[in-house]
């Protein structure tokens, strides 16, 4: 046995450690809870000089999977990690990876698939991967996450197949346990061996075409080869497990049974619930009940024979499904268990119970109850365990809804000057618009000092009349709509955050069509699509699509410069040099290493009638621009408004100072205030003219995330940022002077 050491770590940390020891070439990733810690840990080690894995933060999972594909096509060793909707967004890449036989290892920290949105664990994501041609290993505990990550690569490269290592989100990904890891990276590298492949995109000596266009027979042949590889891999998994056992002292089986030899009732449970159920088995055994529990450590290829051998003597098998294949009479685990047991001629009873969805905890007592169901003569074939009518469901109460008449106090109005081609605003002062009822209700759960509600309220103050919201996933939606409560007093729709502007596009199309057909009364609605800066990363395509169609909406971006809802990973808006959970500072890292995206200019280039940047530090300007945006959205087409939004938690500054920090960002011209109206640029607040212009360091010094940049060693970073900020501002001024 090789030398090992004890660590206290969770599943994600162990997956990262395995990746570091393997020394993959590339990891393409996009943050999604609960798998994000893997990339975060690797990034931390990268900054400390402890790993040289090339980490690429993509703008979405689809691109992350594309990066992984390209990297494997280039002959690299490739690593990925995702969860839930991230896996689904990347799903179309999965059969490409397997169909063109590109090995890689991807960790899936399993989480329920939205919607409605939930970040907790179940198996509804991983089951989508069953038909993708990937090997799927399932680790029931953190130790197995480490071990399987090593074995997975071995299998991947032997069969030229991608391998997923799945484990329970949170229960396994986030629980810290005492685990063993190899002390020396060398041990790992000797175990996995070297990997070279003649057929790769970088082989200019022997060019190869990867990804041919194929006809009927060829595709049949291609899929048959994939099937054969999967079958062969099925035969090698146990030997690979055994060899690894010799190396590590930890022996795995494709199907792990606990006290099943003489068990009359057997539970089949995937993941962490297996561990919990073992305790229930011990308890029931003491009382004389012959109970046992089984888990599968491999889902693809499905270990049918091993499962049958483990369960064949039981009178009743109850399969716990942590997801449902709606309408099929069970989740995929029970469906496949039934099929497999029938194939081998099993004569007992099989029950299926959906349990633990959305991270509902699974206690020993729950396992005991499932065993009790096994003894019930009348137990039905398939049911949901734990589902009940909750009395907390909200009931309609109009007392806090806003009605059309409430929202037109007539404090702000716009008129279009067609000669000058500008929108003129009347009213809209901070004091007067106090009378505008807030579309957002009190009682939301944002952090103390959060800028999001501040910016939303300022935006809404300038907008008279009906409003319909679409929100992307992000802090803004999470803190306002936690069921059974909602903070919205006007209609609101959430959709996943690569798709908000498209979703709003659909709403607007029905609004226009219904009005045209006379199915809806005349009247105006201002459609406001709200996104964070993350939504403008992953959803930029959707935003540009809506912009090119010039659909009549306001796209409002609250830009807090990071993925704050998931613990602050970098976004493309994060300032150059800022530290985040995926841009650590250390001897090999100074923070984020590319400049913030200039989204306002990108949207302006799309040619929409109105683009504006706003800041809470200039509230009157903010309100006026909101009014103009609404006027344009109602009459002309799309308006894009971007606010710099404070995040005390992750900017790492004091909540009470946020308005000053935002003001400093404006005064240093990192976040210039301007508008592009019908193609004409106008700077609405020029710090240079006001004599308020400050160097970027004035702003950087106010936030914990950038304060390190003031140290001498980062002078070059600051200089580069200052140059970029000045260059962008100079260009803006040029545009304003020469419309």
């Amino acid at each position: 046995m090789e030398q090992q050491e004890t660590v206290f770590a969770n599943g994600n940390e162990l997956a990262a450690r395995a990746a570091r020891q393997i020394r993959y070439h590339v990891m393409g990733y996009y943050p999604i809870t609960p798998s994000t810690q893997i990339a975060e840990n690797l990034d931390m080690w990268r900054a400390e000089g402890k790993t040289d894995i090339r980490l690429i933060a993509a703008e979405g999972e689809h691109s992350a999977a594309g990066i992984c594909y390209g990297a494997s096509a280039a002959g690299g060793r490739v690593f990925g990690a995702t969860s839930a909707n991230g896996l689904l967004y990347a799903l179309e890449e999965m059969p490409v990876q397997s169909g063109t036989r590109m090995p890689m290892v991807m960790n899936v920290a399993c989480r329920t698939v939205s919607g409605p949105l939930c970040i907790k664990g179940d198996h509804s994501d991983i089951m989508y991967l069953l038909n993708a041609g990937w090997l799927i290993l399932f680790a029931p505990r953190p130790q197995a996450v480490y071990d399987m990550n090593l074995m997975a690569l071995k299998l991947a490269e032997e069969f030229m197949l991608p391998v997923a290592v799945a484990y329970d989100g949170f229960f396994t990904s986030h629980q810290k346990r005492k685990c063993k890891v190899f002390s020396q990276d060398r041990t790992v590298q000797e175990y996995i061996g070297s990997f070279t492949r003649r057929e790769n995109a970088l082989n200019v000596e022997n060019p190869v075409t990867i990804g041919s266009y194929m006809g009927e027979k060829d595709i049949l042949q291609n899929k048959y080869e994939l099937h054969q590889a999967m079958e062969r891999a099925g035969g090698r998994i146990q030997p690979v497990f055994d060899e690894y056992g010799e190396l590590s002292g930890r022996f795995y089986k494709k199907v792990e049974g606990y006290r099943t030899e003489d068990a009359e009732a057997v539970l089949v449970l995937l993941g962490s619930a297996f561990e919990t159920a073992r305790e229930a088995v011990d308890e029931l055994r003491e009382k004389g009940t012959a109970a046992g529990v089984v888990t599968l450590l491999v889902l693809r290829p499905f270990p049918a024979k091993e499962l049958w051998e483990t369960c064949r003597h039981a009178k009743v098998i109850l399969v716990g499904d942590r997801q449902d294949s709606y309408g099929a009479g069970g989740g995929n685990l029970s469906l496949e268990t039934r099929a497999c047991m029938q194939r081998f001629g099993y004569g007992g009873k099989i029950l299926a119970r959906v349990y633990g969805l959305g991270g509902t905890d699974f206690y020993k007592e729950d396992a005991v109850r499932l065993f009790a169901a096994c003894r019930e003569e009348t137990a039905c074939d398939f049911a949901y365990y734990g589902a009940e009518a909750l009395d907390k469901n909200p009931e309609a109460g109009k007392e806090n809804a806003l009605r059309p008449g409430d929202m037109t106090p007539g404090l702000t109005s716009c008129s279009y000057d067609s000669e000058e081609q500008v929108m003129r605003v009347k009213g809209g002062s901070v004091r007067e618009t106090l009378a505008m009822p807030k579309r957002l209700a009190c009682g939301h759960g944002a952090c103390p000092g959060c800028g999001i509600p501040v910016n939303l309220n300022l935006l809404m103050r300038g907008i008279e009349g009906n409003v319909v919201f679409v929100f992307h996933t992000g802090c803004g939606m999470v803190v306002t709509t936690a069921y059974p409560k909602t903070s919205f007093r006007v209609p609101y729709v959430h959709n996943l955050f690569q798709n908000g502007p498209a979703t709003m596009g659909g709403i607007i199309a029905v609004f226009e069509e219904k009005q045209r057909r006379g199915e809806m009364p005349e009247g105006q609605i201002t459609f406001v699509m709200v996104s964070g800066d993350g939504g403008m990363d992953i959803g930029l395509g959707s935003a540009l699509g809506a912009a090119c169609r010039n659909q009549k909406m306001i796209l409002f971006e609250y830009d807090n410069g990071g993925y704050m809802n998931t613990g602050y990973q970098l976004s493309y808006s994060t300032p150059y040099g800022a530290k985040s959970a995926t841009s650590h500072v250390g001897k090999d890292g100074f923070g984020k290493d590319f400049f913030h995206r200039d989204t306002a200019q990108i949207m302006a280039a799309a040619g929409i009638p109105y683009v504006a940047t706003v800041a809470e530090s200039n509230p009157a300007d903010f309100i006026r621009k909101a009014a103009k945006a609404a006027a344009y959205a109602n009459g002309f087409g799309m308006a894009y408004v971007k606010a710099l939004s404070a995040c005390p938690l992750n900017w790492n500054d004091k909540p009470e100072n946020e308005r000053e920090v935002v003001s400093a960002a404006v005064d240093c011209c990192f976040f210039p205030l301007y508008e592009v109206e019908q193609g004409t640029t106008r700077i609405t607040y020029d710090p240079e003219e006001m004599g308020k212009k400050q160097p970027v360091t004035d702003w950087l010094s106010r936030m914990g995330r950038t304060r390190h940049l003031l140290r001498e060693e980062y002078a070059e970073v600051v200089k580069a940022l200052q140059l970029e900020v000045d260059r962008r501002y100079a260009r803006l001024k040029e545009k304003a002077q020469k419309p």
Binding site: E279, A396, K398
Partner: protein
């Protein structure tokens, strides 16, 4: 009790029927319960020869929202099989007293539970105030101790919990902190070390208040094994769902029913109406819409008049204090 515990030198003073010693910490995001749990985990796993798991209640990363941290110990290498939250803690740390009003922080305590509560009250007063009927209660003003040492609250609580446990060595925690925080931020660690020792001393200096020698407080944590008996499994579920399908919420703006005061960390804005000029800047900076402006008369003019903050929603961020041009809002202690 399992055989292993009988044979080996026992470290844990008490365990449940399966040999677990369980710890729960009740806190709000930002006070450091998560880190405290991690440290107790590492202490057990790497320095005491215990088998350990540690984790926190999972959710999105919000400051001020309730957080629970859990630690499980088992003697030696006995496997830890449980994944679910700790329902019946042997050691319970309540970091944030205000939570006791709205959350079942004392759920599942029994006669063997050592409870550490951050409060200004005495053990007797707190037991009466919160209806604690069993276990031993140690009270300390951890907030004040942390302020006096200029350290994090979690360090004071860690020291206090170590003392209350009777077996967690403060030296071990100090060593751990020295290795992690101390190496990177030596000055910061000095203050935190002092805080930890103060917490430890505060519990050592006085006897715990014996709330009761028997029984168990049965109030349940959310998501404990539900009362879902077999009934719901006999028939394909056809429950009487009362809400709107698809998880839609027709109760527009019903978050006004929420009370957010438990998320504050001790400070509030104090309103001095006589100084207010009705400029509305406070309202423009308040993320929580706490200011109640109503139509009225100010200096003989019809205008929106500030009737001050509604503390039900105030999270104590003090943004308003900073922007108020006339000091009509000032920082005050709760």
């Amino acid at each position: 009790m399992n055989d292993y515990c009988e044979k080996a030198k026992k470290i844990l003073p008490c365990t449940d029927e399966n040999g677990y010693y369980e710890i729960r910490m009740e806190s709000i995001g930002g006070l450091g319960a998560n880190l405290a749990g991690k440290m107790l985990g590492e202490l057990g796993a790497l320095h005491m020869g215990l088998n350990v798991s540690s984790f926190s209640s999972y959710g999105s990363e919000k400051k001020g929202s309730p957080v629970r941290a859990f630690v499980r110990y088992r003697e030696g290498e006995e496997e830890i099989l449980r994944n679910a939250p700790v329902l019946s803690p042997h050691l319970l740390g309540i970091f944030h007293e205000a939570m006791a009003k709205s959350y079942p922080v004392f759920a599942g305590i029994s006669a063997q539970t050592q409870i550490v509560l951050n409060t200004r009250m005495s053990g007797r007063e707190a037991a009466e105030q919160y209806g604690v009927q069993t276990g031993t209660l140690y009270c300390l003003d951890a907030g004040n101790l942390a302020r006096s040492c200029k350290c994090r609250l979690n360090m004071v609580m860690l020291g206090a919990m170590a003392a209350a446990s009777g077996f967690l060595a403060i030296e071990g925690l100090e060593k751990l902190g020295q290795e992690s925080i101390g190496k990177k931020y030596p000055d910061l660690w000095k203050a935190n070390l002092a805080g930890m020792e103060k917490g430890y001393q505060a519990v050592c200096d006085r006897q715990g208040f014996l709330c009761g020698k028997e029984g168990r407080q049965v109030e349940q944590l959310p998501q404990s094994p539900a009362g879902c008996g077999l009934d719901s499994m006999q028939e394909p579920y056809a429950g009487s769902f009362k809400g709107v399908i698809g998880g839609m919420n027709p109760a527009a703006g019903n978050s006004v029913q929420n009370n957010l005061s438990a998320g504050r960390e001790g400070f509030i804005p104090v309103f001095h109406p006589e100084k207010c000029i009705q400029c509305g800047l406070c309202d423009s900076t308040c993320p929580d819409m706490v200011f109640r402006f109503r139509p009225g008369i100010y200096k003989g003019m019809d205008t929106m008049v500030n009737h001050g903050p509604d503390y039900q929603y105030c999270k104590g961020c003090l943004r308003c204090v900073n922007v108020c041009p006339t000091q009509a809002l000032t920082k005050g202690e709760e």
